[in-house]
Amino acid sequence: MSSPPGTNLQNTGTPHLDEMTILLYLERQLDRARAAEVSTHTQECSSCRLLLRALERESRLLTRAMLEEEEPLPARLASFQQAARRSLQWIWMLTFGLAATGVYALYTSYIEPVQNRLQDAGFGGTNLLGLLIFQGAFWKGWQSMISLVEVLALVTLGTFTAMVLRRRLRRGSMLAMLLAGMCGVMLMPSGTTATEFRKGQNAEVTSSEVIKSDIFLSGDRLSVDGTVEGDVYAFGRSLDVTGHVLGDVIVFAHDVRVTGQVDGNVRSFANNLNVSGTISRSLTSVCEELTLDKNGKINRSVTSFADRFLLDGHIGHDVLAFNQRLDLRGQVQGDIRLRADVFTIESSAQVGGPIHYKGSKPPDVSPQAKLASAVDYEHVEKNERHGGGVHYYFWRLLWSGAFILYGLVLIMLMPQFAGDCIKSAENVGASLGLGLLVGISAPIAAGIACITFVGFPLGILGFMLWLIMLFSAQIVFGGLIGRWILGPTEDKWGRVGRMALGMAIIGVIVPLIHYVQILDLIFRIAAMTWGFGAIALTLYKRVAATPSIPIPPPIAA
């Protein structure tokens, strides 16, 4: 049949009409002439008449089966009516807003003062965690990002308040309120003045120029030869900083050269970074080759993720590096923490603090090098560190097996809840938002509860529940992956199979991305947050459920 049957209505060579034609006649889809033919035929032909009646009965059976009310309106749909008055999107925006506010408040209220006191007392966070998270110099450069989070949190909360109050407000007044709020935010005192934007083949700040604000540069070849009193944000193929930047430099480029002076921090994501000038604060670099020239000077710390790091200049504080190779020829006043394959300390090198080195080969240390103490070397198998050793795979396999077993027990014990969790995980925004919020706030709340004598058991219980949820989060994420691949199922063993498949896939992905350490971390955190949020969402739905209500009559079809 080359054309649709509805338009090519011929008998099939038999004396009877085909089923398609009769169905179209029944559904009033034939043109008048053809319908008349079919009508005449069915009056004369008992077989076609019987088929017509059978199809008609089948249609009625279908309609009846579909319209019949066999189950009441689910409880959560009945209760949803209240919730439906406002868009759920706002709730999740609020969740994100609260989470961001919480993290910011936590940092400014608790961590920053302690860290400032420690720094005042002469302790510069030298451990890995401290260096990455709490060290003031590292955070300073992200101040603008924290401010952004703060503003976003405020805007989110403001918008949510407007949505809540909108029952009492007319559309115009709400708009006015929002605009006023926005104006208010814009009128708030700001650390920097208006930002300048420059783009083009050669975007530059010439040597005679003084930029009194932040500046965004984008283009092929970028250069800062003059003075910038704010921060420099650069996106291009190459960037040369030969002038003077009083703020920070944040750059994404292929080649970056700093020969001038940067009073703030430098955050660089580049292929090659060469520093022969002065950076008054810290340097964070993700690049293939990082070179600190003989004349280069960094007054505070360096955090480096590079293939090769040639350190020939001067570093005022500490070095944290994850490199393939580090060649040390210059001076480091503080500590060095390094994970690398090759570590060479040449005769001209000077290090004021301890050196902690993890690698597959012992360091090659020149006897003329001036070191405060001997290198604290820890041998790590190269393949193990990169997730390729038999030992590593054995443990990965064991862990995956343990998780699958744990998931199996969970699904068997609580099949409905497990299914609901995986279903909730499909709601990506809600799961991630709630995961972030509960994941952070629950242990804090548990800790606060533990301070009081009465709340102690509650705090401990809460913390244990949090831990159980954290361990189960990966199972939920695995179940979700399995569900994506094999589709949804209500069957208990079907869920187990999907979870096992998902966990197996995670078991393959993790060793693969383990080569890139930061990616591994990001994946794990995302998976945990996602699964955690899905569990929290399911618990919330359970708590929020109300009894069923009778179902009204159906819409007549």
Binding site: G6, M20, M66, L73, Q81, K423, P488
Partner: protein, 194 residues
Amino acid sequence: MSVPGTVDASQAIARARAGDQEAWGDLYREFAPAIFRFCRRALPTREDAEDATMEVFMKVRDKLHQYDSTRPFTSWLYKVAANHCWDLLRRRKIRQDKETEDLDTLPLEHPDASQLEQLIEKRTSEEVRKALDKLPARARMALVLRYYSDMSYDEIADELGVRRAFVGVVLLRARHELRQALEGLGTLAVGGAG
């Protein structure tokens, strides 16, 4: 299609558009059961249907200003629900259906009416619903659009993304698959399914 219950839909819609939350609540109470049932028929699980019902009403709320009040509200509502459910099914790619090209291959047959009668007679609504659950997404959706929400062939074609001329074929194929599913529940084979 008519508006169920006691609420004057047109008035409630007008009030809901003006921001009256009570009117919105009335609309939800009035139409949620029908939309839930639609989603229940179209989607594979009850959980899916519950979520979809909520999401459909969120969309309806956001798009209420787009509703053309000269047309029946229920038609528009079902269209929103159908769009949502079909998008959901397509995103998941659950149980790949036969593509439009396959529709050409449906043979024109004249099945034995008595066998079909026999199959229908013995079947309850519950059994038909169970059989519907076993159908591929497209077949089930086609039957739901036609026999639950009473959509025209043009609307079904638009919804499923097939040519209007093929809608009859999609529906007939869906019926054949339904009969096969019913046979799977323990009855004789009927019709030219296949």
